[in-house]
Symmetry: C2
Subunit: 209 residues, 2 copies
């Protein structure tokens, strides 16, 4: 009879456990960052994150936009706001999650083994993305378990988050189906094809993002 | 003596040729899209594109920001603007390039073989990203050779572009070095480390993006 050894068991359990990702958006300024934060949230949803925490401030308009997208296009993406970032981080750590701070100063996701170490932890990740210069504290062990650079060049937190999630989920997030959709796209080589759920007054999502 | 057959030759030349990517940003509205277009341009640069064409309109402020980043952080990224999109596309096709239109309606980059087909063409790509609803014509053969979806969910052109470039360049773009930099980041597990070129009055790039 074949018996699993501990390594095989450990591999199996790693395989079975599907680590999740939640995004923490820090430093949002409602007047200035509205559109970018919306893009960050929708990218998070489309690229497999379970939800986004808009820390320290509230922005009802963005919440409405993101929740409407989820309502129309499906899935269970959550959008929380107003939670102090320290509390969000400590809650996450209490639940045995790991914290990844995305920063151009961190370990390069391509040239270092940082992603491998994150994966090896087997933990779900809280991904911190700033929208302005972050407190030095974010780089410390008290906050981040990993400081990760999507390349060491200045660019966009939205772009960085997207690449991080795509690599973290190994691309599989783009093949996921979103449950309970009212509207869904059928991929086409040319043109647009949308399917709408019948027998429902779905209105139509026309808001420009 | 071993002789290359035509397949081997073709594979070899595909390997030797390094296809390039240039981004065409369509539909930019200076008042509304300034920050997002800046993010798109900087993401394009950081993720290996050779340059960005801001079609149909001019936006001197964005050009200055992007050119300043290139001047400080290195590389040869170009930022052109005001070129009519039809001209940009036809010029690209005349130079035997292929045109990729990023759209949530297109072929899913994860579940279809579209990226493989783009790679197999061996051609450099012009990647069209819209910032508002694009003309139906963009989906036609007259414009796009491929309509590619970074997942079939609505999200962000900045995020979509980032994932496309990361996959197109197979991640290697994040390991590239940028030549002639004045300022460069040395990746760290914790904290920030910047190297500045000596004996140059470099000022310092402090602009918030």
């Amino acid at each position: 009879m074949w018996k699993e050894n501990s390594t095989a068991r450990s591999r199996k359990s790693e395989k079975e456990a599907v680590p999740k990702a939640v995004v923490l958006r820090w430093g949002h300024r409602p007047s200035r960052d509205a559109r970018l934060t919306t893009h960050v949230a929708l990218a998070a949803r489309a690229l497999g994150a379970s939800g986004l925490i808009l820390s320290d401030v509230e922005d009802q308009k963005i919440k409405e936009t993101v929740d409407e997208v989820t309502q129309f296009w499906g899935g269970t993406f959550f959008f929380e706001m107003g939670i102090p970032w320290r509390k969000a981080v400590s809650d996450w750590k209490t639940k045995n999650g790991t914290v990844v701070h995305l920063t151009a100063y961190g370990e390069n996701v391509e040239t270092s083994d940082v992603l491998h170490r994150i994966e090896a932890s087997g933990k779900s990740v809280l991904v911190i993305v700033g929208s302005q210069k972050v407190p030095a504290e974010f780089f410390s062990e008290a906050v981040s378990d990993f400081n990760v650079a999507i390349g060491n060049q200045p660019h966009s937190e939205c772009a960085g988050l997207a690449v991080f999630l795509d690599r973290f989920f190994r691309g599989k997030e783009l093949a996921r189906s979103f449950q309970s959709w009212k509207v869904s796209i059928v991929p086409q080589r040319r043109g647009k094809r949308i399917v709408k759920k019948k027998n429902r007054d779905i209105g139509f999502f026309r808001k420009e993002i």
